[in-house]
Point group: C2
DNA sequence: TTGTAAGCGTTATCAT
DNA sequence: ATGATAACGCTTACAA
């Protein structure tokens, strides 16, 4: 059988409590006692049983991160950042892939796995504003993204409208007047697509450009393939275009691919900007301008909020945090080359921390 | 306080054992009893406490996947595949990022977290053949990659030498004679770099081309940035080049970037092939030829082997499995465009399953 | 400073 | 088909 604290205690000639104290770094232990215990631990190859501790303490020191898919670079990088932040707080991260499947996202909230981790950071993609009721859960929860607002939970999101507006203005500032959008979701009122499209319209208006529906191209899932297809459709439609705002970087890379296939020069013929500022865009040909939504800050904030909730009980109201975002100009909008990107902060002060009117109930 | 089985039992007027039976789908229960229990569960909002179950059953139904970094697309995609395979077997995956830090990799093997999950799939990057002794652990372990061979554990790896040889021959078959390597590790005898460089040399020999050290460029970590720098050094050295074999895709994308920065045409002036076949390469400009090491199969096999070890005790000898790899020709080597890649399987039958001479001891 | 004993919420054994 | 009860390995009052 496995070695337990009892075995260690026996060999060291002390009680199990003393072993526990040593293992947990309790300070008031006679050096000689500590030495004997440590010797026994070493000799027997004892390992603390985390499960037993978790049961007793009612904590796991694990948190769940639920994202659609790790193969999407944005979420891989987000996961990386969350894992690092969690580690600094002594937490281990369990990753759930929902695959953007509605049932899986619902399962996540129904508490079936309530006792597996101390809390959940959840980036929904299938659920929407209508499902806001599902977010009233009895465990610590931090919501990410733009699908659901005013859920009874802390929320870290981004300044989508303002950032998209800035991206559009960045294209307009190059003198481009036929600015297309790749990745729109017709008819949607919530979510990244709706908000970024709204920002695009505001940007056009601010630049004095007309809004032309023919310039807005749809894409379902925001992958490279759909971006490529969405761009291709736009080009095949024969509409005149001199700039493209892809609503995320994956689609921007796909769009770049489609443009290249038709021997259209970027940024010569068509300027291009994406959204997310993933690692990829620094090494595409040409390098891609993008909007950095403050991913690092999102991850850190989410972990911090969750840790507060886990530790502090449920006394404070829910918060919404919006990190700073920045437009990063690279070659695809004729900006500086590697290492010399042109960076513009979107709406400084936009990261105001809004205290939600809903009070905690969890 | 939280709702436990006791509370459910009380409300349903049965014993706790019966509740447990219902929860675990034990078949021999009177329908009426089951109904009452289910009503009580529903009414009280009871959730099974996984931690308590884990303590009692000595299983967690979780496995650990330890990779260097999720932001490296290869590992993000591997993690995705592992999570999916694990899920099919009812397992949850805990991801550890080692950051290729030696101490962290050692910690992983020292069993400190022994009881957190049922087993570990480990892709080492800092440890090497000299550390093979550390792999003698008392928990189920599957090793991935090329850093360590003949460890006392199951091992899923790839046919590095043969695949690199095939990649090199693919370049030679285009009539290229000055084939460079990006990403070599001078002096190393184990690991992907050494094996792939060896395959490169074999490929040259098979094509009747001389080996020229001036064509071999180093890179430490295999990132886009280092690939770009490694390529740049090669170009700055003035040596004549008409093809490049980048030892992974990240570096290939970096190399593509460096080539473009110097207005060198791919594949016109220089043909380029990478290794890993990550999603990225299908959407770069031009699309990138690569070697698919069978990532899906690697993930599935690793999970299967681990599950066997967890379930079956330790009776069978350790196995080494080598999935099929394929050379996928795309635009960067003048091959067909999107959707019509030229695919060549490397050494069919190369996935022989070698039973290692070391017997199980775990 | 260290020991004793109760209990965390399950599952498993053995009755009945 | 169901119940009583003892573990699982740890932490934590409370005692000493």
């Amino acid at each position: 059988m496995r070695v337990t604290m009892h075995d260690v205690a026996q060999r060291a000639g002390v009680s199990i409590k003393t072993v526990s104290n040593v293992v947990n770094g309790y300070p008031h232990i006679r050096p000689e006692t500590r030495r004997r215990v440590e010797e026994a631990i070493e000799h027997l190859g004892y390992r603390l049983n985390t499960t037993a501790r978790n049961l007793r303490t009612q904590r796991t020191d694990m948190i769940t991160l639920a994202v659609p898919e790790l193969r999407l670079p944005y979420f891989a990088e987000l996961a990386d950042s969350v894992i690092r932040s969690a580690e600094e707080q002594g937490l281990t991260v369990l990753i759930e892939q929902t695959g953007s499947v509605r049932e899986r996202e619902i399962e996540l909230l129904d508490g079936r796995r309530r006792h597996l981790t101390d809390g959940v950071i959840f980036s929904p993609l299938a659920l929407g504003q209508d499902d806001v009721g599902l977010f009233e859960v009895d465990f610590p929860l931090v919501v990410l993204g733009e699908r659901v607002f005013d859920a009874p939970a802390d929320h870290v999101t981004m300044n989508n409208v303002a950032a998209a507006r800035a991206a559009t203005l960045h294209l307009a500032s190059l003198g481009r007047t036929r600015i297309a959008v790749v990745g729109a979701h017709e008819g949607e009122l919530v979510g990244s697509a709706a908000l970024r499209t709204e920002g695009y319209r505001q940007g056009l208006a601010a630049a004095g450009l007309p809004y032309d529906p023919a310039l807005v191209s749809e894409a379902g899932l925001w992958h490279r393939s759909t971006g490529s297809e969405s761009m291709a459709r736009l080009l095949d439609s024969g509409v005149e275009i001199d700039a493209v705002f892809a609503l995320n970087d994956a689609m921007a890379l796909g769009a770049l691919h489609a443009l290249h296939a038709r021997r259209i020069e970027v940024p010569g013929d068509v300027a291009l900007i994406g959204f997310d500022d993933v690692d990829d865009v620094r090494y595409s040909v040409p390098t891609l301008s993008s909007v950095d939504p403050g991913r690092e800050q999102i991850a850190r904030t989410a972990v911090d909020l969750l840790v507060e909730r886990i530790a502090g009980g449920d006394e404070r109201p829910f918060r919404r945090v919006i990190p700073d975002s920045r437009v990063v100009g690279r070659e695809s909008t004729g900006d500086a080359a590697e290492g010399m990107e042109k960076v513009v902060t979107v709406q400084p002060g936009g990261n105001e921390e809004i205290v939600s009117p809903v009070s905690a109930t969890a």
